[in-house]
Symmetry: C2
Subunit: 508 residues, 2 copies
């Protein structure tokens, strides 16, 4: 890299750091809006987000960026991290400049209106109410996809997916999901039959006071490795992980009639938070220092929640903690009984309530429908019918109304298309990582049986967190597990956990 190229590169990284710092401010304000802000602050907060976004966009698309990129690329950096960073800076610039400013603005405005109307429409289970807004929004999202596609050399739908997880296309996902659909068609009835044969577990008897749940959640989150001096746990209607890498904010919600939702929810968000905490500090505020994408992120939450925290090993440690916290009948907290509460399969209408086996069916449905919406093969008017048909084909059930169907998720109604596949790609990657960790770390389950996440966290820090965005999704997995995404680890995990008959290996 010659001196001019180096100077141009350094100007770009300084600018990227400034943009990222604005993003941090927005992230904290976003957490605040969900967890702290009184309702009367909402209009002003919307303006604050808009101004910050426009300042960041202005920095990202300033004319000198194109010149600096060309200058830096003339003799690219030798260092692998800088080289990857420069490519990511180019990628971000391409995305930021491909969509005309008035379209960006129309997307934000229409998305905002549509989301507001959706809240009412969902409450009323009345799709017709939001349909015109969604039609308008989807037309804009199509325009956005068509603007991004040639710039990125991707199909329109892939260009949208690229915004959430680089390096994965619909062509990669389609066969994976088709295989999973086949697996599910036989595995789900078997799992249901085995579950029914086992009979009803002893009920976990509440109430489970919110403050006891909260202090237990906090303790478990810290035990999993999230440092109190760099994190908070608060409450919000929709649980999430936000904030910044040195100041991670996770949230959950509590209900007093059960504890699993908050407990497993916090462990899930802790998985996300640990990823943020483990990102390479030397590359903070640079694209290469960020998480490798939303599928990668979901792999980290799901390996902590689904793979580790719902394993027999961990549950054998968790049971006594629960008994100590909540009291009650000791046998309800024994591993065999606890696992039947925390690892139930079943056909339901709601994605966020789904178990790990049926969850991909919800994602497959959305993946197919949103591709059709973007290609124009499906109109918004026909969407509820297509949803209900798809649900029937995949899980054999038909939603009683659109609130339990097409209206359940916020994503499309605020213009997020191409995100859904990340959930299941993450689940598959999480299983693949866990299989590797179990192979490589002899005492992994023994440690979890002591409530000790350290061996697993060490593995994830080295193989995933510290890698930032140095690799694409498949290369990251190759680096960590020796192979690109391989969904058979996920189906093997489900088979062992839910179909393990008398002769099968012990479930984990």
């Amino acid at each position: 890299m010659n001196a001019d190229s180096r100077m141009a590169y350094l100007r770009l990284t300084a600018r990227a750091a400034r943009i990222a710092t604005i993003g941090e401010a927005s992230a904290v304000l976003n957490w605040d809006a969900s967890a702290m802000m009184p309702p009367g602050g909402s209009a002003a907060r919307g303006d604050q987000f808009a101004v910050l976004a426009s300042l960041a966009h202005g920095l990202a698309t300033a004319p000198e960026v194109a010149d600096d990129l060309a200058e830096a690329e003339a003799t690219p950096p030798v260092d692998a991290w800088d080289d990857a960073n420069l490519r990511l800076l180019r990628h971000a610039h391409t995305r930021a400049t491909a969509v005309p400013a008035d379209l960006v603005e129309a997307l934000a405005r229409t998305g905002n209106t549509c989301e507001q109307v959706w809240r009412t429409a969902r409450a009323n289970a009345d799709f017709a109410q939001v349909a015109p807004h969604l039609t308008e929004l989807m037309a804009l999202v199509r325009e956005q996809a068509q603007a991004l596609a040639p710039a990125l050399g991707l199909t329109p739908y892939d260009a949208l997916m690229d915004g959430y997880q680089r390096g994965i296309t619909a062509a990669d996902v389609t066969p994976v999901f088709a295989d999973y659909e086949r697996f599910l068609a036989t595995a789900l009835p078997q799992a249901e039959a085995l579950q029914a044969a086992r009979g009803t577990p002893i009920p976990l008897e509440g109430p489970f006071p919110e403050d006891l749940q909260e202090s237990l959640c906090r303790r478990l989150s810290h035990r999993a490795g999230l440092e109190p001096e760099h994190s908070r746990l608060d409450r919000s209607t929709h649980p999430f992980c936000g904030g910044t890498p040195t100041d991670v904010r996770i949230t959950t919600r509590y209900r007093t009639d059960e504890f699993a939702q908050s407990l497993m929810g916090v462990l899930h968000e802790t998985g996300h938070a640990l990823y943020e905490r483990g990102l390479p500090a030397a590359h903070a505020r640079q694209p290469v220092g960020e998480a490798a994408g939303m599928a990668a992120h979901e792999s980290q939450s799901l390996i902590v929640e689904m793979q580790a925290s719902r394993s027999d090993a961990f549950l054998s440690w968790l049971g006594p903690q629960l008994l100590e916290t909540f009291g009650g009948n000791p046998s309800t907290f024994e591993t065999a009984n606890l696992s039947r509460h925390l690892r139930k399969v079943g056909r339901g209408f709601i994605r966020v309530d789904a178990d790990e086996m049926t969850y991909p069916a919800h994602v497959i449905l959305r993946f197919r429908l949103e591709q059709a919406l973007i290609s124009g093969d499906l109109t918004v008017v026909d969407l509820p019918g297509a949803w209900n048909d798809g649900m029937h084909n995949l899980l054999g059930i038909t939603p009683p109304d659109d609130a339990k169907g097409v209206l359940q998720d916020i994503h499309w109604y605020c213009g997020l298309v191409g995100y859904f596949p990340c959930y299941s790609l993450g689940a598959m990657a999480g299983a693949q990582l866990m299989a590797t960790a179990r192979r490589e770390i002899a005492g992994l389950d023994a440690a979890l049986a002591q409530g000790d996440f350290a061996p697993l966290l060490g593995f994830l820090r080295t193989r995933i967190h510290s890698q930032g965005s140095l690799h694409g999704f498949n290369d990251l997995l190759r680096h960590a597990t020796g192979k690109p995404l391989d969904p058979t680890d996920f189906t093997a995990h489900l088979t062992a956990r839910y179909l393990g008959g008398a002769g099968a290996p012990p479930p984990h």
Copy 2:
């Protein structure tokens, strides 16, 4: 205003709104840093503040602002609010452009370092540790004052004061404070003697659990008129009022051995918050829609805390609330006893712990010393000695160490000079406003005796809050009370409250 002038004016207001919105984001992040942020987030937060400040500064000092100002001023707005706003936009531009960018940066950097060192120095009561940093910082503040002075047509010290309260100069303040010093010399010993003659009040017996204090504070704050849907009450080491006009955040701290600090503290911050809530929404995010200055702000916190909430009328309502909340011996909560706890005078070292009679002495000391620091008549090395001499002259006491003396307040150590007079000007303005309210509103004290702030709040909303920055400090008071600042209302209030003998009018 012709069309070109109007267009220029509208460009200026759009820019001002953008700057103000960035300021709102900073304000929420600042609240978060004090009330919520885990310690590990502090470095990143500093960067976030710096980036937001530099973006706002960039917008404020962009070359086109000077052109737009000149164009708009060519035919100034006819509307009084717009006219005042344009003058304030000019004033803000003058302040923003008068100080060279490298000096602004040096002030921020040195102020930050000095403040860090001050924290340790104060903990160690070791002025020598921070002296070199304070010397460097004061040199920069002097430079800043000298840069601002010619641009504003003010003396250097007045140019600093102007940053916190426009329209007040040292020449205005000096005689007011000299009069007060004379008043105090006779009033304080008299008040102390009367207090001693009354004997010790019945002790208020704790503990006072934090959660009970917090819910009472919240209730009182709402009762005083602060709407829950536009505000929060949280905890922080140093109580303050922050956030934005539609989303006000107040904080306090609790100790279980007494409740007065949090209770009166929350009522104080509620006074600030009510001012923000009452600002003219039609002029939101414009200079003319902001509070009229820090002295004006302090008048609103002190009228609620000192004038209303410590009055016999309000205490007669508060007593039963306290009894109901905390239980204990009913006679301790009777007005006569309660007032002797909540209205004690005494000579102390610490400004923030001072009663309303001695508080101005703390301010007078600082006002004199900081003028001498800026003029160069006093060096930082001689500051602790000058402090102790001044304290002895004003209150007859000498601090045992510098932690209880010159090191107690953060202001100078982060570069804030010219702020201190606002506290006492606010106290005086608060007394003047209360005297007017009592004259004009027949049932004012009767309402307070029902715990009803509505008549007082109505008066403040009409006379002060809704006026924004339409008037300067003295014109605001003239508008509200028929006269500019008149400190005799404050001394009359103190005389009635603390020196009211047998023949005096009843204390309020």
